[in-house]
């Protein structure tokens, strides 16, 4: 039997206006291994805004992102992305980027990204980039045909970031997105994040390092206790 992962509550009156998305998290509680990691957490985020989640190790940053992505069941409260298409659930409008890249070492960078662009983009969106353009943004055009397994740690990270660009999804859930990136790549990625916000996207990022987003909101989670 499957445990029912609770979906988001659909808004009563769906206004499908582009750019009017709003992520509302109300009174969220999440259990992990019987321990209440998040409790009574509420925040909201409008289209074009970014939220930086900070806190010490074990404060629940990754748990919050996994719960937002629908990968962890909620122990209470609600998560909703208001203003989107009424028949699409929140996880299907979200990109989730964690420590693992979701790429196959045996396939080339291009083949990996081609797969995710076809698997994650349900219908063509003018805001999705082609694989070649996305690789250009993260500066990996010269290794497009190389096996993913032979890339360096930073290059793997950049390929994983390119996945966010090949299939447009309004909500980006980023868990330590800057790991292993050099200074130039961080600046390129900050630019890509600002572009995403300008397109009406939302970003929730858990990080210990500055992301280069000046107007971002900040959410500080408490210690593990």
């Amino acid at each position: 039997m499957s445990i029912d992962v609770p979906g988001p509550v659909e808004p009563p009156v769906p206004p499908p206006v582009d750019g009017a998305l709003r992520l509302c998290v109300d009174n969220l509680g999440v259990l992990r291994g019987g321990r209440r990691v998040l409790d009574h957490l509420s925040f909201s985020l409008s289209a074009g805004q970014a939220l930086i989640v900070t806190g010490p190790n074990g404060a629940g940053k990754s748990t919050l992102l996994r719960a937002l992505a629908g990968l962890l069941p909620r122990a209470g409260g609600s998560i909703a992305l208001e203003g989107g298409p009424p028949d699409v659930e929140l996880p299907q409008q979200a990109h989730y980027l964690a420590h693992s890249d979701g790429m196959k070492a045996a396939l080339s960078v291009e083949e990996n990204l081609e797969f995710w662009s076809r698997y994650l983009a349900q219908e063509p969106d003018r805001r999705s980039r082609t694989v070649g353009a996305a690789l250009g943004v993260v500066g990996l055009s010269h290794v497009a045909g190389a096996s993913f397994g032979v890339l360096s740690a930073g290059q793997k990270r950049r390929a994983a970031l390119a996945r966010l660009l090949v299939a447009f999804r309004p909500l980006w859930l980023l868990d330590e997105p800057l790991t292993a990136l050099d200074r130039a790549s961080r600046e390129k990625f900050a630019l890509a994040m600002r572009d995403h916000c300008a397109l009406g996207g939302l970003i929730v990022a858990a990080t210990h390092e500055p992301l280069g987003l000046n107007e971002a909101k900040e959410l500080a989670l408490g210690s593990a206790g």
Partner: protein
């Protein structure tokens, strides 16, 4: 087949065919297993002709299981499984397509290699056709049933042995009707069609049920 599923099939197929994939391993294991049996039971042609279908079926079962343990574990380790949960494509369909690609890359080569190995085991023409037909129909059921075990052990490190223990009892019906249909093809008290039809029915039932069971296990363990 819609575009996301076609893309998934292509990816799985490519991964299985590249170096380090499970495509070639299974058929080599199958060949080795069948080749060592005459050393154990002796080179008596009559004995080999009699137990040939059973040897081929057991070897196919073990070769299928050998390749299956990484079916979902590789995706869980590299994070792809989390992303499958975020897609609009239902997990059940993703499981079905992964099984189809896995069978095409590892099960189908077994079926193609089987007639040559059957010749080694002194099979006559009808018995040879019977073995190939039953393997063609029965190996998809082995892959699908094995997928449940692969999904249930996805979080267990080195879960291959545990998976084999879980899956082997479930494959007994496939083995019984596969071998009895293959033996009936070369003559005997039972007509070929009766066990063969039941084997087809088992495969169809596995096709209908196993993707749901495997996807349920992946959802439960994914949290």
């Amino acid at each position: 087949m819609s575009s996301p599923l076609a893309a998934l099939f292509l990816r799985e197929w490519r991964v299985a065919r590249r170096i380090g994939g499970s495509g070639a391993m299974g058929v080599v294991f199958f060949l080795t297993l069948v080749a060592i049996v005459p050393f154990a039971v002796g080179p008596d042609p009559n004995l080999l002709a009699r137990i040939g279908p059973a040897i081929l079926w057991i070897a196919a079962l073990l070769a299928t299981l050998l390749c299956l343990d990484r079916l979902f574990q590789a995706d869980a380790e590299d994070g792809s499984l989390d992303l499958f949960h975020l897609s609009e494509t239902p997990l059940e369909l993703a499981v079905l397509v992964k099984c189809a690609a896995h069978w095409a890359a590892t099960g189908l080569p077994l079926v193609i290699a089987a007639p040559f190995l059957a010749l080694m085991l002194q099979q006559e023409a009808m018995a040879l056709l019977g073995v190939v037909a039953t393997l063609l129909v029965g190996t998809p059921a082995l892959t699908l049933i094995g997928a449940i075990g692969a999904a249930a052990t996805v979080t267990v490190r080195r879960g291959g042995l545990l998976m084999a223990l879980l899956v082997l009892p479930l494959t007994i019906p496939v083995l019984i009707f596969g071998v009895s249909a293959a033996e009936a093809a070369s003559g005997g008290a039972v007509p070929f069609y009766a066990p063969f039809a039941i084997l087809c029915a088992i495969t169809l039932a596995a096709l209908a049920l196993c993707p749901f069971a495997a996807a349920a296990a992946l959802r439960y363990l994914g949290e």
